[in-house]
């Protein structure tokens, strides 16, 4: 069974541009979560989508947004990129609503570099 898949693996953008990151959850999982892991920092919660709706978001500015499609895949968009947005972006999925009710499984991540 395929795990959580993310694309692209690496992404290089210029400051001010927009980045789009994609995530496909494990088959049957309806919840998708996005986390940011900047160098030397822990995983910071960005967004949670379930059944196509944004259910919760972390302390990030509105230029971090996303959506979940009918097939439960998800997209994270980062607008007006800043150098500090350079990080590993991890997507996770879970079977039932809300990590903590059930296990959340992570993908390999997208390394975003802003130059």
């Amino acid at each position: 069974e395929a795990g959580v898949t993310q694309s692209p693996t690496h992404l290089i953008k210029t400051r001010g541009q927009q980045a789009t990151l994609r995530c496909s959850p494990i088959s049957g999982h309806t919840s998708v979560y996005w986390y940011q892991q900047a160098l030397g920092l822990g995983l910071q919660f960005l967004l949670w989508y379930d059944e196509g709706e944004e259910r919760n978001r972390g302390n990030f500015p509105p230029r971090f947004s996303g959506r979940q499609f009918p097939n439960y895949s998800s997209e994270l968009n980062v607008n007006a990129l800043e150098l500090e947005d350079s990080a590993l972006y991890l997507c996770a999925s879970s079977l039932y609503r809300g990590a903590g009710n059930t296990e959340a499984f992570f993908g390999q991540g997208t390394r975003l570099t802003v130059v």
């Binding site: 959580v4 919840s31 979560y33 986390y35 920092l41 822990g42 995983l43 910071q44 919660f45 949670w48 379930d50 259910r55 919760n56 972390g58 590993l88 991890l90 609503r97 809300g98 990590a99 903590g100 009710n101 059930t102 296990e103 959340a104 499984f105 992570f106 993908g107 390999q108 991540g109």
Partner: protein, 113 residues
């Protein structure tokens, strides 16, 4: 604000040693606590703990939760070089934090042959 503190921050041992990793937390509307192992990129799920005092085991790894004292430990016995990784704990909460895992800074474990 939710807080998670892991200790030690780093640990260097030799193969065959036993290690104990600690995670203390202050989380409103606590639901469960998850442990992950992160080697390169993707954190790998280890355990989810919801009840106090019930040990979960998987091979050489085991973990237990104390909801009264607000901590969890992860034990690894007979360590191997493949256990070298960052170990992360993450409480999950309800209320306004529902769906969110709050990660600790991690414990870097290095196992030498």
């Amino acid at each position: 604000e939710d807080k998670v503190v892991q200790s030690p921050l780093s640990l260097v041992v030799h193969e065959g040693d036993t290690v104990t990793l600690n995670c203390s937390y202050e989380v409103t509307n606590f639901r469960s606590l998850l442990w992950y192992k992160q080697e390169k990129k993707a954190p790998t799920f280890l355990f989810m703990l919801t009840s106090s005092g019930i040990e979960k085991k998987s091979g050489r790894l085991s973990s237990i939760l104390d909801k009264k004292e607000l901590f969890s430990i992860l034990n690894i016995t007979a360590t191997q070089t493949g256990d070298s990784a960052v170990y992360l704990c993450a409480p999950a909460a309800g209320g306004t934090s529902y769906g969110k895992l709050t990660f600790g800074q991690g414990t870097i474990l290095t196992v030498h042959p």
